[in-house]
Structure formats: C-alpha cells, structure tokens
Amino acid sequence: MKLHLPNSAFLGNIDPFLRRFDPSAPDFLKITANENWISVHPVVLSMVAALGLTVPLENIQSEDFTAKSKHYIVRMGLFRILKIASNINVVEHEPAGRFIPVTQILTSNELSKFITEMIPLLHLKPEQAETIGYIVSELVRNVIEHAQAKNGAILCAQYYKKSNSIRIGIADTGVGIKATINRSYSAKTDLEAIQLALWPGITGTTRREGGTEQNAGAGLFFIKSIAHVNRDFFVIYSGNGLYKLLKKTSTHRLRLNADPFKDKHSKANDLPFWRGTVVGVDITLDQTREFSLLLSEIRKTYSSAVRERKKARYKKARFIP
C-alpha cells in the first residue's frame, strides 16, 4: 500500500489525496510526503496510522520527511503510534488547547475515559464540548460495535485558530459500511450502503423499525445533521465509496433531510478500495448552534422519515377495470 501526504489535504480538497492512495500489496505500507510543505486534515493522519497498524513494523517504509512542517506530523503522534523512528527532533509542548494526538481506542470503557480526558485538552466551552463529545462517542462506538476492526478506532483532532474550528478524523480497517449494512439490506455498491447508513433509523443489525435494543441506526444521521446545521464539511469514505457533505453559505435556509443525497454534497463510487471506514468532520465553533435547537429539528426529520418508511410498506389496494 502507498499513501502520499500532500501539500494540502483538507475535507474540501481531500479527493486527490484519496485517489492517489494505492491499496495494492496490503502487507506493505510506503509513506511518502510532499518535500516542501505538509498541511493535512487530522483524518489523513488517522488513515495513515490505521493502515500502518495492519502491517508488520518491518514492512512500513517511511521516507525521510523534508517539509518545513514535518514537526506537525511528529507532534500529532503518527510515528509514535506506529512505533517507527523519525529523523525529526522536536521539542514537544503540552497538547492542551491545540490537538488530540493520534489515538487508538479498542473498547467501550476506553472510549468513555477518552471522552472525559479529551474535553479539557481542547479547552472547549460547555456547549461546544457537548457537540464534540457527542460526535466522537457516536463515531467510535460505531467502530467498536460494528466494524469488527482488530485495531479498533484510530482518531485524532486539531483546533484551528484561524477558522476557529475543530477538525476530527476517525479511521478503522474493519469490514466497512457495505458489509455492515448488508446484514439486513442489499446495497449493491459502497456508495449505496453509505447512503443507507446515513438515513435515520437504518441499521445493519435489523430491518425492524426502531432498531434493536442496543442499536437504532441514528448515529451517523445525527452527526451529518450537526455538520449540516453548522454548515461544515462531513466526509465518509468506505470501500470504493465517498460521500461528502459540502459547506453551505449562510444565505441557504437550513433544513434537515433524511436522504443524504438531498443535501448539498459530492459523491464517488470509484475510489481506491479502503478496507474499513473513514470519517472526517469539521465543526466551526463560532457557528455552533445551540445543540438543543438542532435536536428539535432532528426530532421532526426523524419522525417524518420513519412515517414515510412505514407508509412505503403499506399494502396497496388493487384496482381492476
């Protein structure tokens, strides 16, 4: 496998980075980087780490980084989690208020502990902490419960002062969304599976309305809704499929859609195959609407989606001449 850390890869322009990913030879990983400057979204680092953890240490080949911003990669803990040596010496500062380094979470209790410790690290206001904690909890729990990922969830996050935003990336190398959804549905493509996974009330654990006692199929819909209301990017990549919720300008009227394809988005179904799932989300803090208002909107959209699904299953009267 080959991954190249480019000059720039954030959620808005991440597609070329993903298209350049080479998933062949899964027992080897070669990491290369732009030689002048590396500026990437945390999701990129989560992906590199997630892949690196699937191959033996001796099969990871990381070239010497020459970019001026190479220290960033070190401080985010990429080399540390992969246990590979780097030729870069940095004076590490306290991460407080800036970032969450690349972290591996394997169990439910590890996640609860991580969320408790994460909030003070990011120095968030209570209402912001609630939103970020919510996102991390739902995404990582999805991995722990559904992905069958031996290495669990790999995540990292960074605060960006200029845009006053938190950017979060979570990657796993599990079975992927299509395999999960198709335990109960019959999605033909990865993109179709992603679309289903984003609908409220659709879960791979059952076709029963309301889900099982432990799963409702609402987590991804909630997160997409948070990003939508805040007019932020949200990206989900699994198998060959990519769905990207695009930023909306403030002039657009905000309305939640049950069908993710009705939101302003881009999509692809021909990307290099990612064995597992990758999620990236940006949350602009000064636009973070009061969480409770968002929940009111979610309540309306969710109920309406369930009603529509129920109606679609109504038996139809048969009229004959």
Binding site: S108, N109, L111, S112, I115, T116, P126, E130, G133, Y134, S137, E138, R141, P200, G201, R208, E209, G210, G211, E213, Q214, N215, A216, A218, G219, F222, F291, S292, L295, S296, I298, R299, Y302, S303, V306, R307, K310
Partner: protein
C-alpha cells in the same frame, strides 16, 4: 418507587451504552416486573447521546408497550437530555404504529 441516579453511573455525559443496558436489564426491568414505578434521575447529567437513551429505554417501550411511560419518570433532565429522550420516545412509537400527540395535531 425505584430511583436510579444516572450521574452516579455515567458522569456528566451519558454515552456508554453498556452502562445503559446494565441499568435497563438489572434495575429498570426487574422493578417494572414488580409493578414498581421507576424514576430516572438525570440531575448533573448535562448531555446524553441518542445511542445511550435508546439502549436505556427503547426495549422497555417495545416489551411493555407505550403504557410503560406511565410508570417511568425522567427527573431533572437538561433541555438537551429532554430532547434526546423525546426523539427516542417518538421514533419508537412511530415504529410501533402509534401516533404521538404532536403528530395528531
């Protein structure tokens, strides 16, 4: 009346579904089976995920029917927690084919 203090189990952010399942199976359901009323006290819980609340109450609605809501009290809930509980109660009732008051209006 059985009283369960959620904060003592989850802290200020209720998100661990395993804990929700344990509360449901080991405390709420045995109390309901003895015809006891149950108070879920959310004092000091500032937030909860939909997944947590779903794991806590969805099976109760399915097993005991919507009438179970006459036997459970949600105490000292923040606005956020109230919204999450309402979302779960709504979609469970929609799924069971029972219209809520909001929809009837």
């Amino acid at each position: 009346m059985k009283k369960i203090v959620i904060f003592d189990r989850t802290g200020a952010f209720a998100e661990n579904k395993d804990i929700a399942r344990d509360i449901r199976e080991q405390e709420i359901m045995p109390a309901l089976n003895k015809n006891e009323e149950v108070t879920l006290d959310f004092q000091r819980v500032s937030g909860a995920t939909q997944s947590f609340v779903h794991a806590l109450i969805s099976e109760l609605l399915r097993k005991y029917g919507v009438e179970v809501l006459d036997h459970i009290f949600f105490k000292s809930c923040s606005i956020t927690v109230q919204h999450i509980i309402n979302i779960v109660v709504d979609y469970m009732q929609e799924g069971m084919g029972i219209e809520t008051d909001d929809n009837a209006n």
